[in-house]
């Protein structure tokens, strides 16, 4: 046998029988990490300094308008618009996804065509089209296809600004949601459907009880992304002069000329809304992770409590050691 390189004395293992727990451990040093931390700290301090000292941010104006009545009403409209649109978008999106995955070529084609059209046309254009629907169809009627109608309603009274906004955002969202839901369904193992079929579980129940709950693990992160996108995306309906957050803000700065502080007001609210959704996302994901992971990650509250008890016991241990 050829001889192996002899380990030099420094890295050589201590002779057998040496008690390791008596040796002192010296942590590795990371000078690069320290330098980078220092640079970032200085940059952060500069940003904070400029935010505080530059009077043009007009923080007093921001504070005064943040909870002003019309702003709050705008925020509520934004929330309302987002929630309705998200529900409409994902409900229709789920139907479209199921159509796309059905065995009927017509249903597949219609679903594909819908996604194609509504993803191709810019949202702002769709909104204006819906708003002007009354020009194309003066009245809308419910009845037998190609036959007599039972009830008709004036288009203008049905599709007001809010209606046009919901339709435009919702139908546009449905096209994107359809793909998200479809991806989720495709991610579920084929064996799950076979097991459900072999047990004779009814078709609809297979979808709602077996497939969709498992698909949710893939769907939720992307779906929340979409909802956050919607919160901010609703600002586009200012073209319809609908009083959501951004339009309200723009009306106010048009009147007061306090453009920047008003934009900050809007930004703060959008950040707040997004934060709330992000927190919700954590819990929704945790809910759908049941069974997918062996042990669920702790909630932030549980983690805080855990850290506290760990800290207390550590302090107690140190005290005990001193004594």
């Amino acid at each position: 046998m050829t001889t192996l390189a002899q380990p030099d004395a420094a890295t050589a293992a201590p002779p057998p029988g040496t008690p390791y727990d008596q040796l002192r451990v010296v942590p590795a040093r990371h000078p690069g990490r320290w330098a980078a931390t220092a640079v970032v700290a200085v940059l952060l301090a500069m940003v904070v300094n400029s935010l505080v000292t530059n009077p043009r941010w007009e923080w007093d104006v921001v504070g005064a308008y943040l909870t002003e009545e019309s702003i709050v009403r705008g925020v509520l409209t934004t929330i309302q618009l987002t929630l309705i649109t998200a529900v409409l978008g994902f409900a229709l999106g789920t139907v479209l996804a199921l159509m796309r995955l059905s065995r009927s070529p017509l249903l597949q084609a219609v679903s594909w065509g819908y996604t194609w059209v509504f993803r191709s046309v810019p949202l702002i254009l769709q909104l204006l089209l819906w708003y002007n629907l009354a020009y194309l169809y003066r009245t809308l009627e419910i009845g037998i296809p190609f036959g007599p109608g039972f009830a008709s309603v004036d288009t203008l009274s049905l599709i007001d600004k809010f209606g046009a906004a919901v339709l435009g955002l919702g139908l546009h969202q449905a096209a994107y949601s359809a793909e998200i839901v479809r991806a989720g369904i495709l991610s579920v193992d084929q064996g799950q459907l076979e097991a459900a079929a072999s047990l004779g579980i009814p078709r609809r129940r297979q979808t709602t009880r077996i497939v969709l709950p498992q698909a949710m693990r893939t769907i939720v992160p992307t779906a929340v992304n979409e909802v956050i996108g919607l919160f901010k995306g609703t600002s586009i309906v200012y073209v319809l002069a609908l009083g959501e957050l951004f339009y309200t803000v723009s009306v106010i700065y048009g009147r007061t000329q306090r453009v920047l502080p008003m934009l900050v007001v809007a930004a703060v609210w959008y950040v707040v809304l997004t934060t709330v959704v992000t927190i919700l996302q954590y819990y929704v994901e945790r809910y759908y992770a049941r069974g997918a992971v062996r042990t669920l990650p702790p909630t932030p509250l549980q983690r805080l409590r855990g850290n506290l008890t760990a800290g207390i016991s550590r302090v107690a241990a140190v005290r005990g050691g001193v004594r």
């Binding site: 079929a197 072999s198 047990l199 078709r203 498992q214």
Partner: protein, 259 residues
């Protein structure tokens, strides 16, 4: 015990052919399984064993031939000179008469062991949940999983998962149990616990068709062994005959390799 006239669970397979993309996987299978018996299907990989099993409960649609359970066609309804494909609803109802145990368990990972067992009797057979839950607890205890009702499949070992899957199949009170290589995905040390449960069922008089590679199991539990190769049944008979005195060269060669 009083004698029952004829217990249900007679499976007839007649002239079944099945091809995938031009390759014939089953080339004319004829097989009759008498109620209350255990049939073990052996054969090399790719011999069509699993496809046969999946054709029996119509998870696969066969190209030619037919399968019947207690004289009732599986997947079709005869009207005069025509066979009508069953509606999904009727097919699903028919499937509940078969219990199917998969090689890869296919438990529902987002449901607890108990909910896995309870789901189908409630949603497919419309039985009251309370009653089914009680029965499910008893079934889980029977397969040795008392106390693990609340566990999710991923919190269980492979052997435990497969035993939940067996309990899930039993909960439907099927006339016939179909096992598709139930121990092939398990560590050797876990095979015994699953085979034990299956043997226990075998001795209780359930009609079973088991596709497996476990020769020892076939010897202990089978009333009849069927040996398949390249989509055909090569020979069939009681285990001592097929396993110890095989008449066919291909059976001999296969047994020489696996024993």
């Amino acid at each position: 015990m009083t004698a029952v006239a004829t217990p249900p669970g007679r499976v007839e397979v007649h002239g079944v052919h099945k091809s995938y993309a031009g390759v014939e996987v089953l080339s004319g299978i004829d097989l009759v399984v008498e109620p209350g018996t255990v049939t073990v299907v052996l054969g090399p990989s790719g011999s069509g064993k699993s496809t046969l099993l999946r054709s029996i409960n119509h998870l696969e649609k066969v190209d030619r031939g037919f399968v019947a359970l207690d004289g009732e066609l599986v997947g079709y309804r005869r009207k005069g000179e025509k066979l009508h494909e069953l509606q999904e609803k009727d097919l699903l109802r028919q499937r509940t008469r078969f219990g199917f145990v998969f090689q890869s368990f296919n438990l529902f990972p987002h449901l607890t062991a108990l909910d896995n067992v309870v789901e189908a009797p409630v949603s497919a057979q419309g039985r009251p949940r309370r009653e089914v839950e009680e029965e499910a607890r008893a079934l889980l205890a029977r397969v040795g999983l008392a106390g693990r009702e609340g566990a999710y499949p991923r919190q269980l070992s492979g052997g435990q998962q497969q035993r939940v899957a067996i309990a899930r199949a039993l909960a439907m009170r099927p006339a016939v149990l179909l096992f598709d290589e139930p121990t092939s995905a398990l560590d050797p040390e876990l095979v015994g616990e699953v085979l034990g449960v299956i043997e226990d069922l075998a001795s209780s008089g359930t009609t079973m068709i088991v596709v497996t590679h476990e020769i020892g199991f076939a010897r202990r539990a089978a009333d009849r062994v069927v040996f398949m190769d390249s989509g055909r049944i090569v020979e069939t008979g009681p285990p001592e005959q097929v396993l110890d005195a095989p008449r066919h060269e291909r059976t001999k060669a296969f047994l020489a390799r696996v024993l």
